[in-house]
Structure formats: structure tokens, C-alpha cells
Symmetry: none
Subunit: 246 residues, 2 copies
Amino acid sequence: ENISVGQYDLIYNAFSFAFATLAAATIFFWLGRSQVAPQYKTAMTITGLVTFIAAYHYFRIFESWEAAFNVADGTITATGYAFNRAYRYVDWLLTVPLLLVELILVMGLSRSETVSRATRLGLLAALMIVLGYPGEVATTNGARWLWGSLSMIPFLWIVYELFVGLSKSIAAQPEDARGLVSTARYVVVGSWAFYPIVYFAGAVGLDGGAAATVVEVGYTVADITAKAVFGVLIFLIAQRKSVAYF
Amino acid sequence: ENISVGQYDLIYNAFSFAFATLAAATIFFWLGRSQVAPQYKTAMTITGLVTFIAAYHYFRIFESWEAAFNVADGTITATGYAFNRAYRYVDWLLTVPLLLVELILVMGLSRSETVSRATRLGLLAALMIVLGYPGEVATTNGARWLWGSLSMIPFLWIVYELFVGLSKSIAAQPEDARGLVSTARYVVVGSWAFYPIVYFAGAVGLDGGAAATVVEVGYTVADITAKAVFGVLIFLIAQRKSVAYF
Ligand SMILES: CC1=C(/C=C/C(C)=C/C=C/C(C)=C/C=O)C(C)(C)CCC1
Ligand SMILES: CC1=C(/C=C/C(C)=C/C=C/C(C)=C/C=O)C(C)(C)CCC1
């Protein structure tokens, strides 16, 4: 990879920014538990777990990035240690199902609907990540397209579930929270759409320092949106629905 | 050991994944203490202790794994430092008795039954681990079989206790929680059965990089199931049985 010092620094700072944002978001969500009614506490716990897990991984990603390059006297050289791209997948395997669970929990559906929807969406999300992984580490473009396309199936199914499957439940939300719940859905789909775009950009042969910058900074922005910004929406929804309780 | 970079990475990522999952689970369980009735708070505390202890050990296992191999420019060499397999036994000696105590506590039996069952199951579990250890570190296959077989005795006794000894107590659980308590039992037996299988796979001479991958990734999946997934069940049981309290 022909990466410039400026590109290296930008990515380095983006990782550090993500760590700080996600760690701060974690504390915000856990402290927020005391401001919502009992039935929404688990949603807040999980919202904070997602950012906690992601903060941990950004810390590791940051360290891996630091170990992969040596910057001295204004020149950059690869150290030979590979930057571990897999941390993102390890992170997603845990956090993406939890993100969907947190959305379901804050909707306050019946127990059986909560269990069935959370299980289905959680498993679909895990499947999507597991199918994407072999494509990400593959060395041929054919394998990248194959696994990526397979991963698109659960992805599209999730989008369908969120828009068609959940629309009745959204109509049943209290007036006050309905708009926010609907927005939360759009934030999910909008930020998630970014990931396959970046993935397939790699499959059409984008490479080099500029591509690495787009990919790493892009994923970082998407992660912060899908986890911290989305989490703030979850908090606002839970808080509005808790008004009667306090 | 002839381990490939791909196998090394997979194990590396599995250890990091386990650390993140168990650390996140710990916080989930401890925050969950405020969502259960007072008589179930100890069960939640212990559930979190189990994942906390395991997260600590996975951190050490991860570091031990990192120190044992050197990966640079796509090639892998052993550094000469041995990967410490004993961490798992140290972990189990503490966590396996606690796991059984946590199951007994959430059942809400009478005080005398709680003490007698928790003591018996806890001691049997400790005995099982202590008997397995000399076999794990043995250099001859004979010793491996001998200690492994001795360790099977308390193992089978525990399974018997869970299925026969506890069945009357399960019938006495509130309607609402009965199914979950029964599921928790199956999760214990299903995930625990994995450990002796892996152990005896070593005794029939499985070796090399592929075997190491199966053993390490397999134990990791089993640990996450036996501790974090099982813990979520304990939380759900405690929460259902606490409905009347709130
Ligand atoms: C569809 C698809 C993918 C989708 C990934 C997604 C949707 C990831 C979402 C991550 C989130 C939301 C992270 C944290 O907030 C992959 C795996 C790139 C592989 C190519 C096909
Ligand atoms: C029967 C048997 C064993 C059983 C081990 C078990 C059952 C371990 C359980 C560990 C758990 C549940 C860990 C954490 O969650 C050994 C010691 C491998 C030795 C061979 C015979």
C-alpha cells in the first residue's frame, strides 16, 4: 500500500476519535438507565454495551494500525505486521444483532413478539456478517463477489423486516414517540447501506492509500452513526415513553 | 505445531471476541441486578462474576497466544514461549462451581435445599476439574485416559443431579419460568458435553494446526455459551420471577 503520512495521520486520528466518541456514548447510555421506566432499562443497557464493545475494538484497531506502520522524520514505512481488518467483523458479529435487539426492545412489543422478532433479526444479522467475512479476507475477486452477494440476502431481508414487518408496530407506538421510532429505522438502513457499498468498492479493484482512507474513515463515520447517533435516538424514545412513569 | 497464518488469526480473533463478549456480559449482568427482586440479586452478582473471571482469563490467554508466535510479512514463527493451556483450568476451577450455584440460586429453593444442593454440585464440579488437570498436562496417552476417565465420574454425577435430582424442583417453578429453567439445564448439559469431547479428541492423537483451531475455537464457543448465553437465561428467569415484586 502506498499510503502518505497525511493519509496515515487522518486514519490514525479517526480511530482515536471513534474510541473517544464510543467510550463517552457508553457512559451516557448507562447513566441514562436511571432516567427511563423499568421496561426500557434493558434497552439502555444493551445500547451502552454496543458502544462499549465498539470502543474496545476501536482501541485494538488503533493499536493494530500503529503497529503496522512506522512514521519517523516525515517518512512512512510498513513494519511488516499486518493491520488486522478482521476486528471490524468480530465487532459486527456482536454489535449488529444487539443493535436490532435494542430497537425491538424500545418498541415495547408483547413478550412473544419481542422474542420472535429479536431472534429472527438477530440471527439474520449474524448470518449476514458470517457470510461477508470469507469474502473480506478472500484473495480473489470472484470469492469477494460470491460471499458478498450471499451476504446481501440476509441484508435485504432485514431491510424488508424493518420496513414492512415492523410498520404495524410503528403505527401502534404512542403519538409522541412514533416519529422518532420511524427515524430510528431510517438511521439504521441509511447507515447500514454504507457497508456493502464500501465492500463492493473493494471488489471493483479500488486500492492504495486513497482507497484505504475512504474505507477506514468511511467505516468509522458509519459506525459512529449506527451506534452512537442511533443510541441517542433509542434513549430519546425510551425517555418519551417513560413520561407517565415518573 | 504447524499452524498457518489464517489459523493463527482465526484463533486470535476468537480470543479477542471472547474477551469482548464476556466483558460486555459482565456489565449486562451487574446492571441487571437492579431489575430483579432482592432474593435474586446474589444470582445476578455471581452470573457477572463468572463472566468477569472468564474475561480476565481470556485477556491472559490472548496475551499468551500473542507471545507464542511472531507474524511478520505474512509468515509465522514460534517465538519459543509456550502458550499456557492451564489458564482454562484455573478459570474452570472457579467458574464451573459458580455456574451451578447460580442455577440453584435462581430456582429459589428452600434455604436448606439451596445449601445442600449448591454444596454438593459445587464440590463435584471442582473435583471434575481437579481430576482432569493432570490428564491435560500429562505427556503419555495412558495418563490422559486415566485422569480423564476419573473426571468423567463427577461429570456424569452432575448430569444425573441436574436431570433427576432437580426435576421435582423444576415442576415446582412458577408456570411462567418453568420452560426457561428447563432450557437452562439443557444449555448446561449441551455446552458442557463439548469439553470432554475435545479432551478425548486430544487423547486419540489429534494434533497440528487444524486440531489447535478446533480445540481453541471450540472451547471458546462452548465457554461463551456456558457462561454468557446461560447467564442471559438466568437473568430472564430472575426477571420473570420478580414481576410480582415491582
Ligand atoms: C450486506 C453486506 C455486508 C453488510 C454489512 C453491514 C450491514 C454491516 C453493518 C455494520 C454495523 C451496523 C456496524 C456497527 O454499527 C458486508 C458484511 C460488508 C459484506 C457485503 C454484503
Ligand atoms: C468430563 C471431563 C472434563 C470436563 C470438563 C468440563 C465439563 C468443563 C466445563 C467447563 C465450563 C462449563 C466452563 C465455563 O463455562 C475435562 C476436565 C475436560 C477432563 C475430561 C473429562
